[in-house]
Subunit: 522 residues, 2 copies
């Protein structure tokens, strides 16, 4: 039975220099046994040696004069990945992957120095089979669809890996480890596991802790033996991406209670500290990501990401991702827009356009009151970029759902919003949101703005940390095991709270004293 | 890091029945986590779950009402091989293989009951690339040859496996484990490891402890995840077959000292007890296997395996394997023949035919005195089966080499032949040899015949025991680590002893008192 000496904290894949003695007339030790003995002397315990590595040993050992460098993966069990002459100038690389349902992002890391060697993002090619992850899940009822979705996820990772090593002047074979953070469904797609029961009561994943696969098993075109580690889930609705967020926030080790929200189509909310961790997940609808808004779009070049509305004139000014003429509005822009319309008095507390409007940009299009964000001549579309009452109604539902979930979660923890030490906003979307604007529309609570922390892509960062630290992997697993899941969206209290939140900022304006003060000034 | 509870002794692959609870509204445990928790409750610790097994879980668990049987391989690390409904009438089979350079023998075993389900032997198809294993080793200098030899070994194992399951009415997929015992070179061929350094100073194998491969890695057509375990070597000249012999003999646990010899082209000799184990290996030439004798042949149908020569008439009588007309003489027949010729006084102490001969069967053929073992009309060849002075000279060298090695080994252990508690003769050849005849020609020492034990195919038996017992595998590894290798064939003492042994039975007749007595009676 293997005896594994716990190594000091460090990367999941490590390299060791070994100056072995050459065989002599009195030392016939076999090549592999000699190498493994050298590794054992470094405290590595039992190391598995795949046949393809063993077969190459005799030539490499002798060519190198028995001075070699061994690459060893520590997960799932210590395994030899490569043996090469000690002086070959290769690197030992890791690929961190944020496997998002919309975007897939990869970061290349030197596992020995921790150096960041580049980052790439591609649109998840699965989108062609459904923007919505639930649509893709249902698609898997058709034979061959799961395999297709799996192949597309792998294809995206392969594209990212190839682009990253090309840009860094390195080789794909030098990537010796992959760590993936994604939601539960995306992880199932990547591993070709049937998502059927993920969205049907009692919502049981095929796996919460995933097996560690080898790159070749998944057709990932890097070192064939490289372990592919997917961060564990807590359940159908709380994935490794959420656990990564907690890791990156550090809330799981803090004395005071914090809240973390990952805003997207599905919002995941964690409340807790080093003593407890409650997690809940619910649908805020696609509104906040721009999915149901006529001119909504992803945060990509051409998206309006920042909007202000001049209080006196009611005229907008905006910033476009990548500069140039706008094509639509992304999530952070929509929150800015709602906040601006409300603060400027163009929209009332019920979320309805004030008519007749003091702004020349409010007009009727197709029977609906609309705000003209950009004139046709200004846009890349050749038509106006509009924000209609229907769009506003959708966003009101989304922001109300979000605030309600935050309320339910903090109440479950028995804590008031203003007792929160930190309020972390995670996720690709969360990287761009302006906390003050989100407060203004009552999407998030009216607490001192300095308590808000934007974590950026905490999935990617969590995956990067796990690549560099076996302790971080252990901490992720501990976080997962400590989490208590809170059901939402079902109780009468939830519905009552939801109705109350469908105002700007809220029916109970005393909950948003600073918003009231700002609007009074406006 | 994996924590493995040492399981009680048992087979390398085991099945466990699990009556799992179905998921409920309050128990969303993932399918894999649920299964692994069930296995952990049985004391199995961390079990690796290959993706292909995980992917099949959701359907199987639900079809079986969560009452399943899990097949787990314990080596090299606990790994899930299969999950199936608890009531499916499959078996959990193991294949023991004696990977001989001439014959490859397989035995099918029910790992749960220990039941023997059949045995098959095929000629090693590598023979077409050289009868002699050294010739095959040299062939590996040519590109592609090692791959070809590997494929042939695998082909033979596949043929055996297919024939065995067909005869037993079972399925190849039910074979969940393979254990192979062979010499060091054959093990290298099977794993595609370069044998180049095995026969060149300082005689270093690529591996002594082999990695545990998966059947699919080696293209062995059974359960693709089945572990393929090859018994470890001690060095270039002492293979897993020799360790298996020691295991089967039990000499490694006995208080009194015994000797084990595996007679073949290469003879391996082990002397020892529970306190020490010396091992030596040397070439006895192909004589004893019939390789250089004109009418020598393998122990196969048509081979004369037993011969007696009537003392008065000098006429032979013989037994043929499979009955019918003879085609040649196998090793045990050759030893009988030499002993018979000597005892009947047709051959003198120097190993020369006595001329003129008292037997009508001694004649001159091609200028050489010959014994006509069978008349032309009696044989399947349509010609006489002869045993010439040249054949006799070759056998004299082989038997002298054997006796000399036995002498060197016992002297190295500081023990006299008559102090040996048991004298084990192993190997396929060893199964048929008549100990009294081998004593008569001075090939083995003149000790009480009841101390001789024929072990039969102890490689196959050792492999079978390892399949059924993880403790046996541990014992094999302990035997290997305890062995001290003794160099032979190099010293002046060796040459002197060798010269003295080139008589019948020996120049020092006092070493063979019983032979002297028998011959005097004859």
């Amino acid at each position: 039975m293997p005896v594994v000496t716990a190594p000091p904290d460090g990367p999941l894949v490590r390299r060791f220099r070994l100056a072995l003695r050459a065989p002599t007339q009195t030392d016939h030790t076999a090549d592999l046994d000699r190498l493994l003995r050298g590794l054992a002397a470094l405290g590595l315990g039992e190391v598995q040696a795949p046949l393809c590595v063993v077969a190459a040993l005799p030539k490499i050992l002798r060519a190198a004069g028995f001075a070699v460098r061994a690459t060893v993966a520590l997960a799932p069990v210590p395994t030899l990945l490569r043996v090469e002459p000690a002086d070959v100038p290769t690197r030992c690389l890791g690929l961190a992957v944020d496997l998002g349902s919309t975007n897939i992002v990869g970061a290349l890391i030197d596992l020995e120095t921790g150096e960041a060697l580049g980052e790439r993002s591609v649109l998840n090619p699965q989108v062609e089979h459904g923007e919505d992850i639930l649509a893709r899940t249902h698609l898997c009822l058709q034979p061959g669809s799961l395999e297709r979705l799996q192949a597309l996820a792998v294809q995206a990772i392969n594209e990212i890996a190839a682009a990253l090593v090309r840009a860094a002047g390195l080789a794909l074979e030098e990537i010796c480890c992959v760590c993936v953070a994604g939601n539960t469904t995306m992880a199932h797609f990547l591993f070709g596991l049937d998502p059927f029961h993920l969205c049907r009561a009692p919502y049981v994943p095929v796996a919460n802790r995933f097996p560690v696969a080898r790159a070749a098993e998944l057709n990932i075109g890097i070192h064939p033996l490289a372990p592919v580690l997917v961060l564990p889930n807590v359940g159908s609705y709380v994935g490794g991406d959420a656990l990564a967020g907690v890791l990156v926030s550090g809330m799981d080790t803090a004395e005071r209670v914090s809240l973390l929200v990952d805003i997207g189509t599905n919002a995941e909310i964690v409340v807790g500290n080093r003593e407890f961790l409650l997690v809940g997940a619910g649908s805020a609808g696609p509104g906040l990501e721009g999915g149901v808004v006529r001119h909504g779009m992803r945060a990509a070049p051409g998206a309006i990401e920042r909007i202000t509305i001049a209080p006196r004139t009611g005229l907008p000014s905006f910033a476009v991702i990548g500069g140039g003429a706008p094509r639509g509005i992304c999530g952070s822009g929509l929150i800015d827009l709602m906040a601006g319309l409300f603060t400027a008095g163009l929209v009332d507390e019920r979320g309805k356009f004030v008519l007749p409007s003091p702004s020349p940009r409010v007009a009727v299009r197709g029977d609906l009151p609309c705000f003209i964000v950009a004139e046709a001549a200004q846009t890349a579309l050749g038509e106006e970029i509009l924000f209609s009452q229907a769009d506003l109604d959708n966003l009101m539902l989304s922001k109300a759902a979000m605030y309600t979930m935050l309320t339910v979660m903090t109440e479950a923890a028995g804590i008031a919003f203003d007792e929160l030490d930190r309020f972390f906003i995670a996720g690709a979307f969360g990287a761009y949101v302006a906390a003050d604007k989100a407060v203004t529309i009552g999407m998030v609570p009216d607490i001192p703005l300095e308590r808000y922390r934007l974590l950026g892509n905490s999935s990617l960062e969590g995956a990067r940390r796990v690549l560099l630290s076996s302790a971080a992997l252990g901490r992720i697993e501990t976080i997962g095991s400590r989490m208590t899941y809170i059901e939402m969206n079902e109780s009468r209290e939830f519905m009552n709270a939801f109705m109350a939140a469908r105002f700007l900022p809220h029916t109970d304006a005393s909950l948003f004293p600073n918003v009231r003060a700002r609007r009074a000034r406006g």
